[in-house]
Amino acid sequence: MSNIESVTQAEVPTAIGVPVSPESGHEKPRSLTGDAWEDLRRNWIFWTAAVLVVLVVVMSAFPSLFTSADPGSCALARQHKGPSGAALFGYDFQGCDVYARTVYGARNSVLISLIATTIAGLIGVIVGMAAGYFGGWVDALLARGIDIVLGIPTLLAAIVLARRLSSDPNESGFWAVALTLGVITWTTGARIMRSSVISAKNQDYVAAARMLGAGPGRLMIRHILPNAAAPFVVVLTILLGVNIATEATLTFLGVGLKGDAISWGIAISESAPYVTETARPLVWPSVFLALTVLAFIMLGDAIRDAFDPRLR
């Protein structure tokens, strides 16, 4: 009987979702975005994530607001000293202030992730839109392209690419890492974009606009993109977090940021060997990293839920 029981709520949505009529109600006019905002306003996960994200962004823009210490001033004499009023999280192997280095490390992590995600977003939007809108052989070609890039193990490709892009040991590797990440991580966004463009372009309102004589540009920008963008934006938000983590991984593996650069990845990588002596220099940047990644992912999730009309 399970099959018969499994179809139940056929009419429940309509039963309660009697449309709001402007005549009978006195609701203020609200857009989809307005509704989503109403949803988000009451969502504590959204607020937690948003506060964390804002903190991290401010931290990377103005690290001096959070610490007066110089992350570059290190003294071996302070090696692995415990926390104190001057250095909240104590000192690392090199005798540098762990708190200061963690605060200053945010900038590289966040900037690299931002640049990488922007690159991934641009490629994703163009490829996804083209594949979804034009269909046919364009789609076949681009979809295979996406599959190929997806088929390559991300980390392996990143290692190889980052190596090739920054062969000069004196460079920090900042752009190399950002570019590498961008070029490798666009596929998820492109796929999401493609599928939401396909579903949006088959909507009746697109047909209605085509019938009025609207050209491809108008159809894409006015009708398809606004209705297809929400899931894509969510993926990008999540990607921001993921890219911060991947940057740290690359750096940890020695193919990311190098030399004097300060970043969470470097901090984790450098203090890992001494974890048996003192865990603090490893734990604090890791906590910051994990919280930041989590914040972006939670933010993305909350926004996705708010924009999904089916959940309303």
């Binding site: 449309p19 709001v20 009529s21 402007p22 005549e23 609701e27 006019p29 609200r30 857009s31 989809l32 052989w137 076949a140 070609l141 909507q203 009746d204 309102y205 047909a207 209605a208 606009a209 085509r210 019938m211 009025l212 004589g213 609207a214 108008r218 006015r222 009708h223 606004p226 209705n227």
Partner: protein
């Protein structure tokens, strides 16, 4: 007026055909067949007239609508609007010609862009056809259109989801009216609406026709609604028109077996007629339009079928037993709508 009848024809299709190719492969495509969605349709629509097109799912009526408004390109045949063949026009000429034939879609929930305000939706035709209304007057025109379809002009900045289904359908109608077309193709315009709302929209369409002198092509599966609104009716089966005539001829004196079966299956809201009407129950399903039967396409389900039906396709023409065009070798009147005896 003593104008010749031909002048009154606003739309005419001749031998209109749409085949959708069935292909294999993605990059190197080979055609393995074709779905004959519309297969040789001749129609005439006169000024101020409503032509109903009825038929069951898969009969090609929706494809026909798309062909008429230019959403699909015909495989062959012509669509003449006021003497101009739409299928031959290109560029600016085509855009101008298109203004004259607009469409109201079935689903009021999906046919309006949820991220645009009502003002933007109804005003979009003016953005695309910039020559119609000067920029400064567009908002005013949109308000007039809202008023015309019975909506509050103050609601110009609201979004579609703030309206009920019936009100959204009015928005769709206002959009179709924006460019002052002569012809409106209505594709199932009330079938997604609640029973108590349908009459509102039907009456609105009738009022607009009277006020603006519109011609409608009214496509629907609900034969009762079509009888109410249409002056003439075309019955389609597997991509072809099998019978066409004025409303009275089709409903009171149908001569094609398919029309008869279709009409007899429609329930009438009157329990005293139960068991009193002539009921024809068709066997089997509609054959695939990719591989239609030879000769008469209805013969596989027809109780009158003879050898000739498989060999020779019956033409849509007046016959000895049918005063109006009927595509059946054995056309004959039969009362299926009212109680018999």
């Amino acid at each position: 007026m003593s104008q010749p009848v031909a002048k009154d024809v606003v739309l005419e299709t001749s031998n209109l055909v749409k085949h959708f190719p069935i292909t294999r492969g993605i990059v190197l495509q080979t055609q393995v067949g074709a779905v004959r969605a519309v297969d040789g349709v001749d129609l005439k629509l006169r000024r101020g007239e409503t032509l109903g097109v009825v038929g069951e799912s898969g009969c090609g009526k929706s494809t026909l609508a798309k062909l008429l408004v230019g959403l699909e390109k015909p495989t062959s045949g012509s669509i003449d609007v006021r003497g101009q063949d739409m299928t031959r026009l290109r560029g600016a000429e085509l855009r101008r010609a298109r203004r004259n034939i607009q469409m109201v879609l079935q689903d009021p929930y999906t046919s309006l862009n949820p991220r645009m305000t009502v003002g933007d939706i109804i005003g979009e035709p003016f953005d695309i056809h910039t020559e119609v209304v000067p920029r400064g007057e567009r908002k005013q025109r949109v308000r007039e259109l809202l008023d015309l379809v019975g909506l509050n002009p103050e609601h110009i900045n609201r979004y579609p989801h703030q309206f009920s289904g019936g009100q959204r359908q009015r928005i769709g109608i206002a959009r179709a009216l924006a460019l002052k077309p002569e012809i409106i193709v209505c594709d199932e315009p009330v079938s997604a609406l609640d029973v108590s709302i349908q009459a509102q929209v039907i009456n609105l369409l009738e009022r607009l026709q009277d006020e603006l002198g519109l011609s409608y092509i009214f496509i629907a599966h609900d034969l009762s609604v079509v009888r109410h609104i249409a002056d003439r009716v075309a019955v389609m089966y597997l991509g072809k028109i099998v019978e066409i005539g004025v409303e009275d001829e089709i409903y009171e004196r149908p001569t094609h077996p398919y029309t008869q079966a279709l009409l007899s299956a429609v329930p009438v809201p009157d329990p005293t007629l139960r068991g009193q009407r002539d009921q024809i129950v068709l066997e089997g399903d509609v054959p695939s339009p990719a591989n239609p039967p030879s000769g008469c396409r209805f013969r596989t389900r027809c109780w009158k079928a003879q050898d000739i039906c498989a060999e020779q396709e019956p033409a849509l023409t007046e016959r000895e037993q049918s005063a109006h065009p009927s595509a059946c070798h054995f056309a004959e009147e039969r009362n299926v709508v009212h109680a018999v005896e």
